[in-house]
Symmetry: C2
Subunit: 271 residues, 2 copies
């Protein structure tokens, strides 16, 4: 079995690393992690720097909040890049800017290291239950090498395309999720304030063209007045900003996302 | 069987009235309808005015584009109101402003006529296949009387609540459908312009929290470059405006729809 280094033991990363330990993998972690003690108790090896971690592992996984954190742990002093061995595999499971992913992967390629972007969807529950959706960009060879590892952490694992394709897919996912949540919140608020039974509106809409997993699950949570957080709005905003930035790079300006592309000739926009 | 008058033989109304004729109902229509000749060939009785139609029927159904058309055929010269008999049932299957529905129903109640608002979802295909979703507002008695008729035209038939509740539900439906179509169009455009396989993005998103009937059906149509209209954008804009106007009456100003109500305390909006 490949030796794995795991950096980023937060709400998501801690249970993900735990699943790898339970599956019998040797897992190295950083001593600076707040969760280091807990994971060490499960059998993890603790090392002092990302460079040292990378030097002793075959596969290095990061699960960090945003692009700057990934850049720092990769390119910074005693970072992954300064220690990683030729022939290693780097997997970034963070949700970051696809352009940053591609930059990092280029730097790794020059050292003979293959890389995958593999952001996830499913939140804390998916991480704890090992049922994450994993959207992967990179070479088929790297994907095949990583698949046994992904299967310990997720269920719906899709190889989308080349480097960065996983991050683009995640950005698309977050655009759809964010806008659908807004639609459901506005519609059910309109129903409630109009004095109409919200449960019956949800049921009626679920039976038709307005059906979505978000109307089903969050619609029920709205009915139950269950607002226990399952994800941080700051991270969703970060993801929406990645989508805007990716659009800006692709289209020239964020405002053109709405005006361009697939909708040409569509009857929904009268163009 | 009750004698039915049907006003509004457009893309939706023509097949709906056809289903009633096929089910054995006596159906009266207006001579002014462009589809009169065709429906007459199926056995419909043609009359010269809405008043005359209402006078000879037990149940009067309207299926018209917007509030002004319903008001005109109801309140206008030789309108339904001037001819309809005490004990009749009026069913408005148009999608109109709930406030206009309630006004019309009050006028009818003073003549001893019961009424239902019963807007539909499912478009031309649903009308032709008799698989419409029907969202109904009005008394339980009126709903029970209309149910055998609805069952000839639709499948997912839900009695939501009092008069106007069907129209409010339809407005909620259109808010969700419109915003979800926008989300899917933006996300798949972002994927395509970023050079990522749109079919794989759709498949990955369908397996997770971004799943919706619109991603499934319209996502596939986008992949197939099938932009054959199934609904008119002008009518969807009309419906969105009904939602805004209903919100304005309820909240005081349209902009407050987004700021009020169910989302209070929700982790998605940091409030």
């Amino acid at each position: 079995m490949e030796k794995i280094g795991f950096i980023g033991l937060g709400i998501m990363g801690k249970p993900m690393a735990g699943h790898l330990l339970k599956a019998g993998y040797s897992v190295s972690i950083l001593s600076s992690s707040a969760s280091a003690a807990m994971i060490k108790g499960q059998g993890a090896t603790v090392v002092d720097s990302a460079a040292a971690l990378a030097a002793q592992c075959d596969v290095v996984i990061t699960m960090l909040p945003d692009s700057p954190e990934v850049q720092a742990v990769m390119m910074g002093d005693k970072g992954i890049l300064s220690g990683i061995k030729k022939g290693s595999l780097y997997i970034d499971m963070s949700s970051i800017d696809p352009a940053v992913s591609r930059e990092i992967f280029s730097a790794l390629a020059s050292k003979g290291v293959d890389a995958l972007d593999a952001p996830v969807s499913g939140g804390q529950a998916g991480a704890e239950g090992a049922t994450l959706s994993i959207m992967v960009g990179g070479t088929p060879t790297a994907f095949a090498r990583a698949l046994p590892i992904f299967e310990k952490m997720g269920k719906n694992i899709v190889h989308i395309g080349e480097a960065g394709a996983g991050q683009v897919t995640k950005a698309c996912n977050q655009v759809v999720v964010g806008m659908t949540i807004q639609a459901i919140a506005e519609a059910l608020t309109l129903a409630k304030k109009s004095g109409v039974d919200v449960a019956k509106v949800r049921a009626a809409l679920l039976g038709g063209f307005a059906q979505s997993k978000i109307l089903d699950l969050h619609g029920q949570r709205i009915l139950d007045r269950n607002f226990k957080p399952g994800f941080k709005i700051k991270l969703h905003r970060k993801d929406m900003n990645i989508a805007l930035q990716t659009g800006k790079k692709t289209f020239g300006a964020p405002s053109r996302i709405r005006d361009s592309g697939l909708a040409d000739g569509c009857h929904y926009c009268e163009r």
